[in-house]
Symmetry: C2
Subunit: 446 residues, 2 copies
Amino acid sequence: MKLWLTTIIAATSFAISGSATANQLELNNDLAYKLVESLTVEVGPRLAGSEADARAVAWAEQKFNQLGFDKVWTEPFTMQYWERGNASLRVEAPFNQALVLTALGGSIGTPFDGISSQVVMFDNLQQLQQADPANVKDKIVFINQALRKDIRGSFYGQVVGARAQGAVEAAKLGAKAIIIRSVGTSNNRFAHTGIMRYSEDVPRIPAAAISVPDAQQLSKMLAIHPETSLSLNMKNNLPGEVTSHNVIAEITGSKRPKEIVLISAHIDSWDEGTGALDDGAGVGLVMATAALLKQHKPERTIRVVLFGNEEGGLIGARAYAARHAAELKNHVFASESDFGAGRIWRFDTGFGEQALAFGSDLQQQLKYLGIEAGTNTASGGPDVSVLKAMGVPVASLQQDGTDYFDFHHTPNDTLDKIDPAALQQNLQAWLIMTRIIANSNVDLRK
Amino acid sequence: MKLWLTTIIAATSFAISGSATANQLELNNDLAYKLVESLTVEVGPRLAGSEADARAVAWAEQKFNQLGFDKVWTEPFTMQYWERGNASLRVEAPFNQALVLTALGGSIGTPFDGISSQVVMFDNLQQLQQADPANVKDKIVFINQALRKDIRGSFYGQVVGARAQGAVEAAKLGAKAIIIRSVGTSNNRFAHTGIMRYSEDVPRIPAAAISVPDAQQLSKMLAIHPETSLSLNMKNNLPGEVTSHNVIAEITGSKRPKEIVLISAHIDSWDEGTGALDDGAGVGLVMATAALLKQHKPERTIRVVLFGNEEGGLIGARAYAARHAAELKNHVFASESDFGAGRIWRFDTGFGEQALAFGSDLQQQLKYLGIEAGTNTASGGPDVSVLKAMGVPVASLQQDGTDYFDFHHTPNDTLDKIDPAALQQNLQAWLIMTRIIANSNVDLRK
């Protein structure tokens, strides 16, 4: 730990030595990268509710204190814990071979000896919903829908329904289990996990994802031998309720300390990668942004929130919103970084009409970083969308997500996938946006 | 199977309908791709000596017969069987997390409860060999040597020694186990397997590889906390001697049937990928080459050999050489395709001086495919190098191997990694080379 601390202090000292302008804040400062490196190397994967999640929370508290934040605290919330066990999937005769799979988050396991059954393929969730139950009953459902790439990740919402709702729809028709083609854009042989849901009135069946090459392989087998059967075995644990934490830290405002500018990321990650892109990069960015702005004595309070259990369904964000409901009127702004570490290319707002000119001026300050003007329909980020729904003004520094779903929710989400130069561009944008908003007195609220 | 057979017949009929010239043989024929697709989908991974290896041998015999070869047979050989079991590697406190590893082929397992020990890192095998035994005794050795990319895979030979000999060198100094950085060029989080060796006079210790990102992760941990310890558990099986097979098929020569032009690949693969690049592509190419040349009534006999257990150390090739020792004087030429499916860029020979002009003419026939003239130091390919050592003339159609070690010996070696256009260029070159040699009467021997 000692080495890390020395590095941070050196980086911070360097930062302070420059006389930063709004347009060239901390140009050579690598604090964001150092933070995500420390989190991914020293903590690693940090599944919400796990022992590693608790270490991540302790890591964040320690770093906030080392970085000189004025207040640092944690807020507990309860959550249902889910833990991955061993999993295997084999094609049975005549093409006997193993396929690469991962349990979806929240899925039950199979019976001890697994499930062996014929597989039935659908192109998408809608096709499954319209299927004849006679073709699905007692089978393993396979949804083979590809995800297309684009800068905004626009197609994710169209495809992820199979992951979230597939088990319920398949179980309604009597299926024994469901496997989906990974909601991912890479042909590397990694399966993508992610949260799935059950419904109270439908039997729970096991749900898993297979990698893109394995989905192609299985569909080729089915073209040759439509009666292909699979043998699935998963041993997940759902031990019940546990406590996790949001981690919060503030740089107190020098003039209007009660007005809160909230910048955020999520501290939890899925359990197979080290969560560098999702969401270590965001953690590093917002911690570094506030830490580096301290020297500039922001007028409003900058509050950094590292939400817990985003992956399980914004559980920490909902707990935050409930606990701070009365205080939300003092939240003058909120934003989250949670779409990897690609360069920021667009600035979207969710402001009142009276603040659009301010938003436009702010975008002009970001323009030299290659950041375009966007829309006024920003969500602010997954966790922050909960606050937006309760009236908090938001903005989104939109990252280039073209390659995000190559790595997202796979074992391959590791530090080496972050381009330090792109992260540095992100940090510049976060510094500029946060500083300008923290020093303004414009009411952004709709 | 029926669908496949129809496809092959259709492809072959198409081929026969054209009047092929030496330079434009079967330009649109996808037989090589169809064969590697069938092998990888219908058989999949085929570790030498396994049940899947036996299915691969049966697959090859059936395909050779369907393709109309004049003779088809198998030749048994015995081999030591090795089988992968479950494996796990964890970093212990303070950075507790799992690393991605794979057992090296031939490695023993750990004791049932695994091995927990401090790790000691070396930059390469030479540095380990020079280490003070006091720094190695009772530790887990970690060799962290990177593999560089180039078109020829030139650096593989420099790095693979750590995989092959590392366990012996580490055990000499009293290490409990060895892990190496994967001998691979991708930062995807796959560990690369491959054969390793023990020595009779040195204790056997477990040997595994970790992925490139995991090697980077571990070295960062060691920089912070040099006393980092690991917990390794592997359950491999070494049940003893089993029988596997070389598969052989011939198109009988129309004028000089006793003169054998041998073209080859290996039928076995590692157990984690489907062996599309290593060596399904080679299997498809040489089977298709001979099948498509049948219509041209080659003057010499074209013998296709699909060697067994190349991965275990050219075991099938050595068995072939021993069994056919008396007949090798009739082997007028041998070559193997076993370096993936990249475009062929160079033609190397291993001919006698009197045949160099012939080799040069042959290269001129390949030039329109972008194939340069090479050296006269060709090995002919891994298996064929055994025949070269016994005097058989060889040549190598050198493939672009720039990306080969991104996939080689990993779970990610799957059909989608083959570019059909590049495979088609390979097929053209193999057709031209094989046809010209089969119709020549030049003595290629040194």
